[in-house]
């Protein structure tokens, strides 16, 4: 293939000066846009290295550039030869200089011939590359040849920084190389290697003739944002375990993420929702005529219309809850404030919102049920098809309670404890763009973080095959479990799209809607708790009755009715437990999984019980923990769960040392002597990860779920790029980075920069199973096990093809990076083959392949399934989770005696999530989970009044925690590798809600002299005031001591 280019430009300097630069390889070379380095072979010939890349393939290429002709001051001509990307090329670049007054006119020409494989691989796109690269080179030259001091300075700076190099530029000239980061319009460029000079020139081109108009910035695609991550392992032998910056950051810090609302198109329609102002009301009539008359409104949808075109969603639970008719919109009555009643679709979001206000609905208010305790009486039935508000009941009983209580030295009774309603309120609300096209396929660009479940809910309800539904995500602004149940909103948008012949319909929740109806974390009340302890303060038995309030629809519930039992004994070694577990429907927002889902409620309860007992027995909180902690691992709990590993005693010691426990104890004595309320509290918690879906069968023996699985597909693309697709749905957890780390360790020698990981998930990539999603702290285990498995398979295939291609045995081969990116080579020989050729051999040039390569595709899919059994459903006994990360927090809190504001004076966090894949990401998860717990403990609550009105339905009322309220955390970590994951890692994303236990304990300790029991998770100044002034519900504790007094 041969290409020729030419052109001319004028520079405002004398001809001699221009010639001096053009004829000096040392000055010329650094102008190349992808210049890397150079050395002079002699004074005419430079060996120049340039960074090269087409598409996702990157490498460094060397070439020889010789000043073949220098006819002072008229003419300079270079000849270059080199090998690039499996081909060879020759080139000529010549410059003729003519005087034009005091200026110089430079006429230039470039010719190149290319040979070899490169053409078959990239030939088609070559000319375009070449043209744009030439434009850049000419731009650089013009700048370098301009009289401006600035230009000279830039060139000088470049030369100083990189003592050599030019040559790349000519390679670039040939279009053989495009820079690893897009060079074109300036702002987007960030590579250290990137020559600012060239870029600037293009941004403001002087008069010149160019081959083509400059590419406008708008034409840049998102993929042009580099995703380079740090290539320094800081001495760590593997990529896993290294503190790496994240691939994701590159786009996100530039404001170039793609969240659902960022996706715009001119024919898109916008959906707004009219919501119920009542917690419980009959719908008497709906009038949409005024709304529909508004110009720009396309259609409206009522609940009745929706119910006529779909079936209610499947219910996970058994009867009576299974009888619930769950539609995404109210049909005959509304059962929580904020429930969708009418949807309006319009040309713009603003018109839709206006029209929503024109919808007239007549309601007749019904009696609301606003707590689980009230729901028990069934005075007002919320779902008539259910006949009761009691959604689920089960008894979890293990050991011998009667004997334990008979032998107890102490019995402590606690009448009521309460875990309040809050959620993690991700900063991006629920959203989707739905398109139900005329072929019957539904496409969702969504924020849903568990699409496998969303699809299994929607497909039967909408009467389509699961295969008709495509869910894809890109960047998601946090989820913390909350976005798992966004499928009702998605359904409404899809039905609107179908009604409108397949137009795209965008649905974006406002913050107010999100707080009203986007899903709340579960609320739980613990009644009639009795605790047996031996004379040493070891808890031997607990019995209790728990009421869970799941709001108006169960949706993901009643799974939470079993999930808490993953941590049945918390961190304690007691063997006798009986929990009478109940779940009730109320006229409040439906519950959703929320960071620490269902376990944090139980863990808070257990820790509160432990501290109350300690207080009764006069035992320090550290001491009673040391006596009760589980110390041997793996540990089988009374209900058959297996705690994989851990060292709680060590965590406690570390945390106490970090805090300066003794000094704080001393300060506390002084404070108390001065009458101040200063308290120290400890909270231990568990983050159980990778759950066994067979727990669904504990709540409903007919539930078609068990085990767990996650998927990764990994391939070498036609161009040799390594590309991973995941079933997990990240919303800030750095999956792209962690995946690249794991793959890079398997293909030892290929760095994570060369591993491209698709952002988000897309069911069209065939990388998902029925469990795929991001929830339950499992990416590090199930997600990365899938990635690891895929990488091992791909490695095997690459070695097989490599051995065939290089005529070597597989164990001689070594992975590495060369001028064409990832490659296999036989060390000590000249045998080397880049992945691009390996892929070529299999995918595009595969005649005559030997039979042993018949199964090789270089496109592998791995499904990881942890080894789980179905539990004994009758006894509710069996292993429900694979890994157990642990955290221990200590807080020092002083409560102001006049304002009742609890101020955190010191805060320590110790975490243990087994082997850390990326310590930076782990630390981020620990901080984030701590902030959520502190926010919930001190500031954040969904507060309903007696009529079921949500009083905290804006951020200004809900007050998510800010930097001003966050204490400075002192953190430490330890690693107890899990024996059950291939990499020793444990899931760590949820954090287990430790700040809730810790703050309750600290507030209790601060108020030790006040004869009150902290019985609620919420510790706002108002809550503390109420507690001290006997307002609201009190917790009563009795202690019967049977030991020798």
């Amino acid at each position: 293939m041969e290409m020729k280019f030419n052109g001319e430009f004028k520079v405002a300097i004398p001809r001699q000066e221009a010639f001096d630069l053009l004829s000096d390889p040392q000055k010329f070379a650094p102008l190349l846009p992808t210049f890397h380095s150079m050395s002079m072979k002699d004074d005419k010939t430079a060996t120049v290295k340039v960074k090269v890349g087409i598409g996702k393939i990157h490498g460094v290429a060397a070439t020889e550039l010789t000043l073949e002709e220098a006819q002072e001051p008229l003419r300079a001509e270079y000849v270059g030869r080199g090998k690039v990307m499996g081909g060879a090329y020759n080139m000529i670049a010549g410059f003729d200089l003519e005087e034009a007054g005091s200026d110089t006119l430079i006429k230039w020409r470039g010719e190149t011939q290319m040979y070899g494989k490169i053409l078959s691989l990239a030939g088609g796109s070559m000319r375009g590359y070449a043209e744009s690269e030439i434009n850049r080179l000419i731009g650089s030259l013009q700048l370098a040849l301009s009289p401006e001091a600035e230009a000279a300075a830039i060139v000088a700076a470049r030369q100083a920084a990189k003592p050599q190099g030019l040559w790349q530029k000519l390679l670039a000239l040939f279009g053989l190389w495009s820079p690893p980061l897009p060079a074109a319009p300036a702002r987007e460029v960030a590579s250290k290697e990137e020559p600012a000079a060239a870029v600037r020139l293009l941004a403001k081109p002087p008069t010149r003739k160019v081959l083509k108009a400059d590419v406008a910035p708008a034409a840049l695609s998102r993929t042009e944002v580099g995703e380079s991550i740090e290539m320094d392992r800081h001495g760590n032998p593997t990529w896993v375990g290294s503190h790496l910056r994240r691939k994701e950051d590159s786009r996100l810090v530039r404001g170039r993420g793609l969240y659902v609302d960022d996706y715009q198109s001119s024919d898109m329609l916008h959906l707004a929702v009219v919501r119920s102002p009542y917690a419980h009301a009959k719908i008497l009539s709906i009038d949409v005529s005024e709304a529909e008359a508004l110009p720009g409104v396309i259609t409206t949808l009522t609940g009745a219309e929706i119910a006529s075109v779909m079936q209610p969603y499947m219910q996970i639970g058994p009867e009576p809850g299974a009888n619930i008719k769950d539609y995404p919109m109210a049909v005959t009555k509304t059962i929580y404030q904020g429930e969708p009643v009418v949807a309006v679709v319009a040309e713009t979001a603003r018109i839709a919102a206006d029209a929503a206000e024109l919808v007239n609905v007549d309601y007749e208010a019904l009696e609301p049920v606003t707590s689980a305790e009230d729901a028990q009486h069934d005075k007002s039935i919320i779902h008539p098809d259910m006949g009761t508000n009691h959604n689920w009941h089960g008894i979890f009983e293990y050991g011998d309670l009667d004997q334990a209580f008979a032998e107890a030295a102490h019995v402590v009774k606690i009448d009521r404890l309460h875990f309040h309603r809050f959620s993690s309120t991700p900063l991006e609300t629920n959203a989707c763009v739905a398109t139900w096209d005329k072929r019957g396929d539904i496409d969702f660009f969504t924020t849903n973080t568990f699409p496998a479940i969303a699809m299994q809910m929607m497909a039967p309800a909408l009467g389509v095959s699961l295969d008709n539904i495509r869910c894809r995500t890109h960047d998601i602004g946090g989820s913390f479990g909350n976005k798992i149940t966004s499928y009702p909103g998605m359904t409404i948008a899809a039905l609107a799209s179908r009604k409108l012949g397949g137009r795209q319909v965008k649905w974006i929740e406002t913050r107010n809607e999100n707080l009203l109806a986007g899903g709340h974390g579960g609320e739980r009340t613990f009644l009639d708790t009795e605790v047996a302890l031996d004379a040493d303060g070891v808890i031997t038995a607990i019995r209790s009755r728990h009421l869970d309030d799941c709001g108006a629809f169960p949706r993901y519930e009643p799974l939470g009715c079993a999930i808490w039992s993953q941590v049945l004994p918390a961190t304690m070694k007691l063997r006798n437990i009986r929990v009478d577990f109940n779940q009730y429907i109320t006229n409040k927002c439906p519950a959703v999984p929320n960071r620490g889902y269902s376990r944090l409620q139980h863990l808070w309860f257990m820790e509160r019980v432990l501290d109350i007992c300690g207080h009764q027995l006069g035992m320090e909180p550290d001491e009673i923990r040391r006596r009760n902690y589980i110390t041997e691992f793996p540990y089988t709990t009374p209900n058959g769960c297996v705690y994989d590993s851990g060292d709680y005693l060590k965590m406690l010691k570390t945390a106490q040392d970090l805090l300066g426990w003794d000094e704080w104890k001393e300060k506390q004595r002084q404070a108390r002597a001065e009458g101040r309320w200063l308290g120290i509290g400890i909270g231990t918690t568990l983050d159980s990860g990778s759950n066994n879906f067979a727990q669904a069968q504990i709540v409903n023996p007919d539930a078609p779920f068990s085990g767990n699985s996650e998927v990764c597909t990994l391939k070498v693309g036609l161009d040799g790029s390594i590309v991973a697709a995941l079933g997990t749905v990240p919303s800030g957890q750095g999956h792209e980075t962690a995946t690249a780390q794991v793959v890079a360790d398997v293909l030892k020698g290929v760095g994570p920069d060369l591993i491209h990981v698709h952002a988000g998930t897309d069911t069209a990539r065939n990388a998902y199973s029925g469990h795929s999603g991001t929830y339950a702290s499992q990416f590090a285990v199930t997600g990365l096990s899938a990635v690891h498995g895929a990488a091992v398979k791909l490695r095997k295939e690459l070695l097989a093809v490599g051995a065939y291609a290089l005529q070597a045995s597989e164990d001689e081969l070594e992975f590495g990076e060369g001028e064409m990116g990832a490659q296999l080579s036989v060390p000590g020989t000249d045998k080397v083959i880049p992945f691009m050729y390996l892929s070529n051999i299999i995918n595009t040039n595969n005649a005559g392949l030997p039979p042993e390569l018949d199964e090789v595709t270089l496109n592998v899919r791995h499904v990881f399934r942890p080894k789980f059994e179905v539990p004994d459903l009758k006894r509710k006994y069996g292993n429900l989770t694979l890994t157990y990360a642990a955290q221990l927090h200590i807080a020092v809190v002083e409560i102001d005696k006049y304002t009742f504001v609890p101020q955190i004076l010191d805060y320590v966090v110790v975490d243990d999530c087994g082997t850390q894949i990326n310590p930076k990401i782990v630390e981020g998860q620990v901080h984030g989970a701590t902030a959520h717990g502190l926010g919930a403990a001190l500031m954040e609550q969904y507060l309903y009044d007696a009529s079921g009105n949500l009083l905290t339905s804006s951020f200004s009322d809900y007050t998510p925690i800010t930097a001003m309220n966050m204490p400075d955390l002192k953190c430490a970590s330890q690693e107890s590798p899990s024996p059950f994951s291939y990499n020793g890692a444990k899931g760590c994303g949820e954090g287990g809600g430790a700040p809730l236990h810790t703050l309750s304990a600290a507030i209790q300790d601060a108020l030790a002299g006040e004869d009150v029991v902290v019985g609620d998770t919420f510790g706002s100044p108002t809550a503390i005031y109420d507690l001290l002034h006997g307002k609201g519900r009190r917790t009563t504790v009795t202690h019967e001591s049977r030991s020798a007094a």
Partner: protein, 162 residues
């Protein structure tokens, strides 16, 4: 309620480029940036001026663009997160946020960066407390703020050196 109010002509300079548009008087500035100009780096996280995801600079001062109408920006000069990186590469704050893991989901990040930038422009060496105060109106639900504060310190140090 949309009575049809006449559109108003405005001229706004954003990240060095001047735009002329005709807008509804009730169009919020953040909507204008996102929908009219396609600058979707500026995000919306709430509807009560609480979260700061929409923070941009107007004439060099940080403002919550959800709390201004587009017409109020007529004749003004704005900078959004898309205008932070320059020919020389990323802004030190952008680099520091990545280096110190000051972002997870990235949704708050553009607003955080713009708030932090305003602080460093008037105070090159802020204390922890000053940083916290500056970002008190920027909610981050992911990071617990620790690494954001660290990132701002790191960027400040880099900017002081250069």
């Amino acid at each position: 309620m949309s009575e049809f109010v006449e559109a108003v002509d405005i001229e706004v300079t954003v990240n060095g480029k001047t735009y002329q548009r005709s807008v509804e008087p009730r169009l919020l500035l953040v909507e204008f940036l996102r929908e009219e100009l396609g600058l979707t780096g500026t995000h919306i996280g709430c509807d009560t001026s609480y979260c700061g995801a929409c923070t941009i600079h107007m004439n060099g001062a940080p403002v919550k663009s959800c709390t201004l109408f587009a017409v109020q920006a007529d004749g003004q000069t704005l900078t959004t997160v898309e205008g932070l990186a320059t020919d020389a590469g990323l802004h030190p704050l952008q680099k520091a946020f990545s280096e110190h893991h000051g972002l997870q989901c990235g949704y708050c990040t553009p607003g955080m960066l713009m708030s932090a930038k305003a602080l460093l422009e008037r105070n090159p060496n802020p204390s922890d407390k000053e940083i916290k105060k500056q970002i008190a109106g920027n909610v981050c639900r992911c990071t617990g703020y620790q690494n954001i504060i660290k990132s701002v310190h790191a960027a400040a140090a880099e900017m002081r050196e250069s």
